[in-house]
Symmetry: C2
Subunit: 425 residues, 2 copies
Amino acid sequence: MSEDYKSMWESLELDLKAHDALLEVLGKGYQDIYLAQKNRPEGMGYFDFVMSEVHGLRIRELLDEKAAGQKVIGSFCVFVPEEIVRAADAILVGLCAGADFAGEEVEKLLPRNTCSLIKSAFGFKLGKVCPYIESADMIVGENTCDGKKKSYEILKDLVPNLYVMDLPQVKSAEGRALLKAEFVRFKEAVEKLTGIAIDAKRLKKGIEIVNNKRKAIYRLSSLRKADPPSISGLDALLANQVFFYDNPARFTESVNKICDELEKRIENSEGVFPKETPRLLLSGCPMAVPNWKLPWIIETSGAVIVGEESCVGERGTRNLTDDSGTTVDELMEAIIDRYFQVDCAIFTPNPDRLDHIVEMVEKYQANGVIHYGLQFCQPYLMESMPVEKALEAKNIPTLRIDTDYSMEDVGQLKTRVEAFIEMLK
Amino acid sequence: MSEDYKSMWESLELDLKAHDALLEVLGKGYQDIYLAQKNRPEGMGYFDFVMSEVHGLRIRELLDEKAAGQKVIGSFCVFVPEEIVRAADAILVGLCAGADFAGEEVEKLLPRNTCSLIKSAFGFKLGKVCPYIESADMIVGENTCDGKKKSYEILKDLVPNLYVMDLPQVKSAEGRALLKAEFVRFKEAVEKLTGIAIDAKRLKKGIEIVNNKRKAIYRLSSLRKADPPSISGLDALLANQVFFYDNPARFTESVNKICDELEKRIENSEGVFPKETPRLLLSGCPMAVPNWKLPWIIETSGAVIVGEESCVGERGTRNLTDDSGTTVDELMEAIIDRYFQVDCAIFTPNPDRLDHIVEMVEKYQANGVIHYGLQFCQPYLMESMPVEKALEAKNIPTLRIDTDYSMEDVGQLKTRVEAFIEMLK
């Protein structure tokens, strides 16, 4: 890394030594998991570059944009409406939460029985190794699960700029009214932060930017129907992960470029795995960078992942926002409608999610489903048991995996995954 | 148990063999924990009788009341407004949830990392040993924590009559509107179940019945300020537990009778423990019958419990409902106001709870606080860490205990509790 980055990280008050160690582990992991893959699409070179610069050039860009007057908003959840952020020329970035860090410090603040995702977000903050959270002008927490909801009460003392958004638990009329009130309040907070009044034109532009990202990622998803698969699940997951970090226009363009390449591959029956490789749908908890453990196990065990039913995947990107409205009110209603459809397990009941899993199994011709539950993530773990039963009743083989970010169970998981894949053949 | 009860239990389709085994364990536990106490108030004889008949006479009463046309509503939570139930001449009972039962069956339906309270509710149902749930015409679930919220999706397939009440997570205007909508919906459901239209007179009567129970239990609590303590924490907890089961008028009368006796004891400086016994406040998760493990450990380790900051304690019974309204609307608003004050850890933020703990420490002159967290209960475990810090900052010694319903950790807990009490001397 250049001296330039070093002074940039110093300006963000990162712990340089710890941060160097993190980047080294991250780089090595990326090498072993991503670059070790064979026959990757050339277009993935863009994402390789993005990942190599995820704490470098991308942060430099953010700081330059901040210097030019734009605001950076950090988020932990797909419920934060990016359309509103973009409408105010602000930048939405996902915050670091995909690896264990500063575990001892974290357990002074959070119960040991807290899921890895939440612990990780705290660890990156306490360890001073996340340049995104340090660059953010506003950090948005959201009342999804109990773990996140209650941990924000603790996080608020660690950051100067936490904003908490409430969310409904039921898709009732009152639930929608609550979401609406909270999105209106968020719009006002973004306006206050940026000093920009969000009018219909701006909101339309915000919707367009985000819809374009979504359209590109849908296009990529659709190409995963092909057999042989033209792209690995690991690479597609990476695109879904970078969705949260990258400049949206550049992301859209880069994904579309990969799609052009994949279309040619499909025409030529060219694949990253042989034809008739067992195809799996991943369903459950989100996987933030660099949480690639389970996909890596799966794709080195003789199967390919053809879809992610996850917040870092179709649960997060499904559904465009209707941009046909002409007033702020109409466009805000469209945004609320779009987010109210998200089938997160925090909702009760949550029947849409099962429908979506089945739909994705059919669409991507998956031979089975691996349900990924983060240990201590009560909403997804609770929902996984009826989901498994319902899928099995439809003759869709399902394997439930509950794990965390540690590498201790890799051997055991690999054995279970291999046995499951063997059964599908 | 008489033959009469046997046929009653058969009519409720209980598993008689398992139920006999449960009653035997319960009876032995009660003997060892409750009856082994010295110098108990005579009035506790009433509760000894209630407990000996908790699956017998009390169930006979419920069935007789049902035969006379009354409805029985079962609940797992203090958010279910008893005033509305009583207004329709219906009976509200707490459902069994204080002991491990049918663990293997439970873990087929719920993740292993689920709190004991929820597992227990399922265990009693699956094991067919809870006559209350089998007698209930309506079972009310409520969207409090993730664990309960999501488990009701599974419970609904095990019982024919589950009604789920949504709850807010934030004490905002929208949060109160949601609670209001849900209480109005609940009132309508109770009216439909009972065939009784709830008018102002009925609602006033319902409020009076429940307020009278609360006043009696407040009176008992206030008498716990005395030193030497005139009643043990175990016995006071039992009164708080029976609050959920008993006929309200009889409960009120019996508690007041005990209070008369305690007042005489206090006059005579008579106590169940010596003067200057270290005094502790219990704070945290609720303790349902027969979950007496921690209080028993504490009171056999040289301290007395002088208050319960818990749903089975002052969190559940604090605050009367204003009965001054003259219309259904006014009285419903009073009920909503009363319940919206409950400082459950599902709310974020939840500053009232810390205030109440400090208030209780002062009122009952506690020397320290033991925070009781049920393993995997994320709301209380998360909240326990800032609560502990805030209490320690006010020089209130605090011990955090996270445990479940098993007896495996009794030795270890006793060592920790004894060391904590030793430190207070």
